[in-house]
């Protein structure tokens, strides 16, 4: 078992990033046919994934992380921004839809391994088809060899190629989905909650497989999840998304040990952890919620590199530059309507300043 646990790939800091997202935005129209209202699912998002780097994107449901994935996978047309793969803006290169060249660079692994494999076909079909479409098959003998190699890579027996999806467990199916993505030899894999539908005991196996692919084949990954502990386990860096915008990003261990943004603190404090008994404090929780939507002061006030601003999402550096840890200025007010969705669970506390803002937002 080889794990490069402590060393984020050195190459990521120097060469062209594998995936770079600049100012990505996406609005969805809401209301009737003639309505001009829209909901802002993603706003001005910048994210960089170096070659051979695993970056986790965490946040609650509705925070916009899946919208980001769908935009990057080009299943959704972004409203604004650029997506660069290996330094090339793919939105400009293939204006209208994703090209085959794009698909061979970036592959997705979806949440539901029960829905993503056609039940009428054998496992061999999925992998062979990937090879054929992208012209990686070669002769029959080469293709056969490649299929077996793929199965070995993802930790499955080669004779499972003749099985149908229903004969496989959830973990095995997800491994097939990963093998299918690998067949194309992509540079980047986008994994949207790949373990959340799997049985708990096999989740770690899939995470270990993803790490192995990075270590051995240098594939970059964007790992989208709401599970902070698994993000910490797998990803070199973690980015936190709230209401369609990134609020904090940094080396995973450092970010989760020293969360600087109230929203990150809120998420971290909510993870069940038997080692940290009696962790829930409703007063502290209410303060954090209040601070997420309308903080009145910034703990980085007086930052020599970046002055605080309530209008611009200024990024302050946190701690050692080595950790590439930054946090959005606390003074920045997120889009009010967004907070209503993401924090709507707040118990109503009459007289608390947050509750009025909450009611307006959720109305």
């Amino acid at each position: 078992m080889s794990h490069s646990l402590m060393t984020p790939s050195a190459a990521s800091k120097t060469s062209t990033p594998a995936l770079e997202i600049r100012g990505l935005g996406k609005s969805f129209p809401i209301g009737g046919l003639f309505s001009r209202d829209s909901v802002r699912a993603l706003h001005d998002t910048d994210l960089t994934i170096g070659k051979g780097e695993i970056v986790a994107l965490v946040g609650e449901s509705g925070s916009g992380k899946s919208t980001l994935a769908r935009c990057v996978a080009r299943l959704e047309k972004p409203s604004s921004g650029e997506i660069l793969i290996d330094g090339v803006d793919v939105l400009k290169r293939d204006r209208f839809q994703a090209s085959r060249a794009f698909r061979s660079q970036l592959q997705m692994v979806f949440q539901d391994p029960f829905g993503s494999l056609n039940p009428a076909h054998r496992i061999e079909h999925f992998l062979r088809r990937s090879l054929a479409i992208h012209g990686k098959g070669g002769s029959e003998e080469q293709a056969r060899h490649r299929l077996e190699e793929l199965m070995t890579t993802v930790g499955l027996e080669a004779d499972m190629l003749n099985s149908y999806p229903h004969e496989l467990s959830g973990g095995q199916r997800q491994r097939v989905a990963i093998a299918r993505a690998l067949a194309v030899e992509p540079q980047v894999i986008l994994a949207d909650e790949p373990t959340s539908m799997l049985d708990v005991s096999v989740r770690i196996g899939v995470l270990n497989l993803m790490r192995k692919l990075r270590d051995e084949q240098g594939i970059s990954m964007l790992y989208i999840t709401h599970d902070l502990a698994s993000a910490r386990y797998l990803a070199d860096r973690t980015a936190v998304m709230f209401a369609g915008e990134l609020v904090e990003e940094g080396e995973s261990l450092d970010l989760l040990a020293n969360p600087a943004h109230p929203y990150t603190q809120l998420l971290v404090s909510a993870v069940p952890d038997p080692a940290r008994a009696g962790s829930y404090d409703p007063v502290r929780r209410a303060e954090l919620r209040q601070a997420v939507m309308a903080s009145t002061h910034c703990m980085f006030d007086g930052d020599p590199d970046q002055a605080c601003s309530a209008e611009e999402p200024v990024r302050h550096r946190v701690g050692d530059p080595e950790n590439r840890h930054w946090v959005r200025c606390h003074l920045y007010r997120p889009w009010a309507a967004a907070g209503g969705h993401a924090l709507a669970s707040e118990p109503i506390q009459p007289g608390h300043p947050a509750s009025t803002a909450q009611d307006e937002a959720s109305a």
Binding site: M6, G205, N208, L253, P274, S345
Partner: protein
């Protein structure tokens, strides 16, 4: 000391399940979903049942509520609640037993609310049907109930779609405790919710439990959550209990390889990154024997090359 004598609360168990066996009987073959399972829950005790999908934990909950439908059949064992034999109850007795004695919150229960009735009407229904209160009295109590779970009583007039997922789940929990049951069964009450909401709901249940003193049967696959909430817990695999002890003991010293795999499935939030293995695909335990006491109050099913047949090359070697 036998298993049924170990309980956290009083010595008088609220619920006592002995050698429960449930089979799903098909035309050609039958499956044993729950196999000779025994446990008891004391007054005011929170008992956790952990395990992954298909291990039989929900079948146990449904057996206790007598909600099993064909082809499921209780093939053996007994369930007694406060000294009464649950399996022998008549339809009329069951009607009183459900909700008044034992209430259940189902997985994604928030979707079980009637979308065309207000929250208030649905709670009033419980009081008028099961407790025979007048409508006015029921409404007053419904308001109190919502306050108990920190929802503004003005929300009585809201329809379910006007509440967030967390609020709906809270309302469902309020409805479950409406008639002050002595046992509350929670079947994966927070799996459909986000971590932040999940934690608040769990804190709420803890608070209600302290206030009203009911016992809880808590079913989940999330070991961290279970250890946080439960006094005692049992880990199930393939219809059998493989380990049962105080939750803290299971957390500190999991003994069965399956329990260890479940624990290993949740990476920690602090400390160095350590490679974890979980349970490799294809590893199965067969013919799990009865529990034996490995330490005081800590019961484990014997395992090893002879006891549990492992259906793969070998457990360590397959871990990758």
């Amino acid at each position: 000391m036998t298993i049924s004598q170990v309980s956290f609360g009083s010595h008088e168990p609220v619920l006592d399940v002995k050698n429960l066996t449930v089979k799903y009987i098909g035309d050609t073959r039958s499956t044993t979903a729950v196999d000779r399972v025994s446990f008891s829950i004391g007054t005011g005790e929170v008992f956790g049942l952990a395990g992954e999908s298909g291990c039989g934990k929900s079948t146990i909950a449904n057996s206790i509520m007598r909600l099993l439908k064909d082809p499921a059949k209780i093939a053996g064992g007994s369930i007694s609640f406060g000294g009464k034999d649950v399996l022998a109850m008549s339809a009329e007795e069951l009607r009183r037993f459900r909700w008044q004695d034992v209430a259940m919150v189902f997985q994604s229960a928030m979707n079980s609310l009637n979308p065309v009735m207000t929250i208030g009407d649905q709670i009033v229904d419980i009081f008028t049907t099961h407790a025979g209160y007048s409508r006015k009295e029921s409404l007053r109590r419904a308001g109190e109930l919502l306050e108990l779970v920190r929802i503004d009583p003005a929300r009585l007039k809201s329809y379910p779609h006007q509440l967030s997922g967390g609020m709906r789940q809270r309302a469902v929990i309020a409805m479950a405790v409406a008639l002050k049951p002595s046992l509350l069964i929670l079947d994966e009450p927070t799996t459909a919710l986000d971590v932040v909401v999940q934690q608040e709901i769990m804190a709420q249940i803890k608070e209600l439990q302290r206030e009203l003193g009911f016992s809880v049967l808590f079913i989940t696959h999330d070991m961290s959550l279970m250890v946080e909430l439960s006094h005692r817990m049992a880990v199930m695999y393939g219809g059998r209990i493989v380990e049962t002890a105080k939750a803290q003991d299971v957390y500190a010293d999991p003994r069965h390889p399956y329990t260890q795999a479940l624990m290993g499935a949740f990476p920690p939030l602090a400390g160095p990154r350590v490679p974890l293995t979980g349970l490799p695909d294809g590893v199965k335990f067969r013919n799990i024997p009865d529990l034996t006491e490995a330490a005081p109050g800590h019961f484990v099913a014997p395992f090893g090359a002879d006891a549990s047949v492992i259906d793969s090359t070998d457990f360590e070697g397959a871990a990758r």
